[in-house]
Symmetry: C2
Subunit: 227 residues, 2 copies
DNA sequence: GTCTATATGACGATAGAC
DNA sequence: GTCTATCGTCATATAGAC
């Protein structure tokens, strides 16, 4: 109540730094050993402290997973950057979707440990908290908004349900990521047996949801000016 | 070398029975507690024996996972039964694919623990052995053969690559299963937010790969109006 | 407030007696 | 083939030093 005018005192800042360091080490470990390979003891060992000291910053191992879950979605959202709005300038629906799809799947395949944590449910007893879920929800609603805008611009059929379009899109991306990571986790995005199917599947998706008569740039401009 | 004329002596038969019992209990446990919740100690406890005794039948916990992996794929293949050949009598490609897709995804959603083990890679250090992989390979090559036969019968475009068709199909099913189990694991198949997208996605898939001409005009009209 | 030291109980796994 | 005994590791909890 009384010291809230000071944004961050030294102690709080130091505490946040330590929390970030714990997450750094935990993310490294998860990348090396897989999601289930994360161990409180090993994190402490690498930080040069004793395991119980970690409980000052994270109440449990699942709280650590929760922090990693939130961080993973934040990293992914940062990586996607402004692409969701920028692709609205692309020539075709197919081009636009392939660009964001490639970014998304590319990050997932390059970060398999995070992907397991974000897209699957590998840890017994771990359910992401509402706070940790927030960036995930943000990502989904961002996709929905983009599809809505695409429909407003006449790229997507007017009779298509944006919720259904969004759902189908996430299913498609999840399928590619899931199959690639489960069956050939060491293949790169460029040479992945399943990631290579992405352009084809995006084409299928775009053709299915594209407005019936593909709009020429002129018609698209006319369409947009009507709103 | 000397006793191989006898197909199964009592000891061997008893051993196989015990192995089956271990797998029964392990599958129950996995269903109750999730894939990672499987514990050698708990399996032994439920069988009324001591944990070390299990090592007579399974060299390690991962060997137990291996047995469950093979058994899961066998159960799924049995569940699919003769559907892959029977659906060749259906009226449309869409009907046929929706039928096998519904069976496959339905089993997966009804058996989430097995699904995690079969379709994801949740256990650190566990890589299915070649033996355990055999029924999985059988399932995939069965799908490929069905698509090949569909192409021979003129249902699927002659210029489509059967390998690509098969791959896209597995991605689609994996996407639905993955999203449903990760985001709403307690929803039934009938009411699942993601399983409900299956008919739509199968329609998209069928429309994309269907041969342009073999359908009568009436069927084609019905096909198109389904969207 | 933050850490160390220590303890508990479960786990996977092994050795060796019977 | 099953047991007891045991090992090392794990997540977690608590007591108390600084």
């Amino acid at each position: 109540m009384e010291t809230e005018t000071v944004p961050l005192d030294r102690r709080q800042r130091r505490r946040l730094e330590t929390i970030e360091e714990v997450l750094d080490v935990a993310a490294d470990l998860m990348r090396e050993q897989g999601v289930a390979g994360l161990s409180i003891g090993e994190v402490a060992r690498r930080m040069g402290i004793r395991p119980p000291s970690l409980y000052v910053y994270f109440d449990s191992k699942n709280a650590l997973y929760d922090g990693l879950f939130a961080r993973g979605w934040r990293l992914l959202n940062e990586y996607m950057g402004e692409s969701r709005t920028q692709v609205l300038d692309r020539a075709t629906l197919d081009d636009a979707l392939l660009e964001v799809g490639t970014l998304f799947v590319g990050w997932a395949v390059a970060n398999p440990a995070y992907s397991q944590l974000l897209f699957w449910r590998p840890v017994r007893g771990f359910e992401p908290s509402a706070d940790a879920y927030e960036p995930a929800v943000e990502s989904l609603s961002g996709a929905r908004e983009t599809f809505g805008e695409m429909q407003r611009r006449g790229w997507i059929r007017a009779d298509a349900s944006i919720d259904e379009v969004t759902r189908d899109w996430t299913i498609l991306l999840a399928g590619v990521i899931s199959q690639q990571l489960s069956n050939a986790p060491h293949e790169s995005f460029a040479k992945g047996s399943f990631t290579m199917a992405l352009p084809r599947l995006v084409g299928m998706f775009a053709a299915h949801y594209a407005a019936p008569s593909p709009l020429t740039p002129r018609r698209r401009a006319r369409h947009a000016s009507q709103r």
